[in-house]
Amino acid sequence: MEQIVFGIGITALTGALATIAGSAEDTESNIGSQGDPNSQVQLAPQMGFVHRIFNKAVAGEPPAYGLWCALGAGLAWAFMAMQVNAVLAIVIGSVLAVLVQGAYATTAYLGRTASLAKFGQPVYVDILKSMTSVTMAHAFIAIFSVVTLSHLINGALGHPFPLPLLGLIWGIALGAAGSATGNPYYGKERQYQNQKFGAGVPISASGNIVRYAEAGERNSLDNGFFTHKIGGSASGICFGLIVFLELWRTILFEQISAGWGAIIVGILMILIFTVVDRYIEVWARKNYGPYTEAKVAS
């Protein structure tokens, strides 16, 4: 019983860390335009819309976070093997991984933006200096959270995978969940704030991203501030639920019926999310209504 209570406590802690990681990851990627909306940031100057948006997308979020989290976890694991205190080891490992992220962000921005020189897009050094440090700060929060939850899963809950491998797996899952949930909000709702609310961006409007703020030109810090409220929170809840529920069903129900308990609870949870998803879909159809008459649409 004591073991189960301990497991539930660790599970709750990892769920909270995952929520923070998801939120920080999405905000970091939005400030750096690393998700799929980077295509519009790259396209805009080619359509004549020169901008001051940061763009460091030379890899998708999942492989990038897989690398950074595996790096942070691997270094933390090495420091712990050298008898360094676990908390200190995780912090140092995450800091070193963030230095790699900073180098990546710098070279990615310079490379991507320099390739647009023929379209008149300048490389802004002030953007490079102010945005890179902010993405590094957010990346540190995300990497630190993932390495810590991986350490808890490995050390306290007894998962067989070594720390670097857990960092890789949860880093990729973090990037996948964060990009899936957060990208549409940045891509549609922020970059195309000039388009109608409640409709997708017409393909003919591609590249015409919003470039001006209340005062002066919009930059990526404005984008991070805006998207964090819904896109970042939703990404955090998404990744938090994934980690928490995966651990919860294992810790509480794996011993029931030789492992079948965790399977049945997992299937039940999938069914619950299916019902919730269907409710959301039907709610939208009823409340937002069709864009055109059914008989006219083709």
């Binding site: 492989p63 491998l165 797996i169 709702e189 965790a262 269907r278 879909e281």
Partner: protein, 264 residues
């Protein structure tokens, strides 16, 4: 479909299996067959995952706004995490546990995607590929906003995502379990150390190979569907046979090298 390419693929698969039988006729061959089955499950499962890529991020096309290989990898690796934890419960339970883990990850992600579309952006789901949702019968065209190919995740895409996550998680776990049992049995003799000492190395090596094989198969499928797919109702889904052959050959080749490290 190119019959010649399919035949060449099957012949290559048989050659690799024959080589494995020559090098390691017992456990090695059985492990390789398990790896091929796991790889095929991953490749087939990735076809179900609804991914819209960059256009989905602007609400211009349905699906999840990220890369297909990356999303499938995220779900499958979450499944592998659960399956590896349940390895002691036996092959069947661990494989299904891995599948449920992948399915659960996709169920949460797909639900949150629709949540953001509906409550964050005010956009209902609409498919661009079918007039009616094959499962619910909901008409789609009138909910498609002007100038787009659709947006969000219709119910059939949600079900496809969960199915893909399940197959990917189960396939990844199967590969892991096959390699783990092989390494546990052979590494002590190869390295000349007691079985207890070899366990962390066996777990780590099997886990890394499982992750690598997962990415190989997911990327192969991403090429097959040219980057985006709405789910099982998408016409691109019919391309799966050639991807199955490609996944089988690629998994066999990668698996063969994973077996060679203990067989030679």
């Amino acid at each position: 479909m190119n019959p010649t390419a399919m035949v060449v693929g099957v012949v290559m698969l048989l050659i690799i299996l024959a080589l494995c039988w020559y090098v390691s006729p017992g456990m090695g061959l059985m492990a390789l067959i398990g790896i091929v089955v796991g790889g095929v499950l991953i490749g087939f499962g990735t076809h179900f995952v609804p991914v819209g890529g960059a256009p989905a991020a602007m609400g211009q096309a349905p699906g999840i706004a990220t890369g297909v290989a990356m999303l499938a990898a995220g779900a499958g690796l979450a499944g592998l995490f659960g399956g590896a934890w349940a390895a002691e419960q036996g092959l069947v339970v661990a494989t299904i546990t891995g599948g449920v883990g992948g399915g659960l990850m996709m169920a949460i992600t797909c639900m949150m995607v629709n949540f953001v579309y509906v409550f964050g952006m005010g956009i209902p789901s609409a498919s661009g590929k079918v007039a009616k949702d094959p499962i619910t019968g909901d008409t789609q065209a009138e909910f498609k906003s002007q100038g787009t190919e659709g947006h969000g995740l219709p119910f059939v895409s949600f079900v496809g995502g969960v199915t893909g996550g399940f197959l990917g998680g189960a396939g990844g776990t199967l590969i892991y379990l096959q390699l783990l049992s092989l390494y546990e049995a052979t590494l002590p003799a190869v390295m000349g150390v007691p079985p207890a000492q070899v366990m962390p190395i066996a777990v780590a090596a099997a886990g890394i190979f499982a992750v690598g094989l997962f990415l190989v198969n997911a990327v192969l499928t991403a090429y097959n569907i040219t980057g985006t797919i709405e789910g099982p109702h998408d016409p691109k889904f019919k391309r799966w046979p050639r991807s199955i052959v490609a996944s089988a050959v690629a998994s066999a080749l990668c698996g063969f090298f994973a077996i060679l490290i203990v067989a030679i």
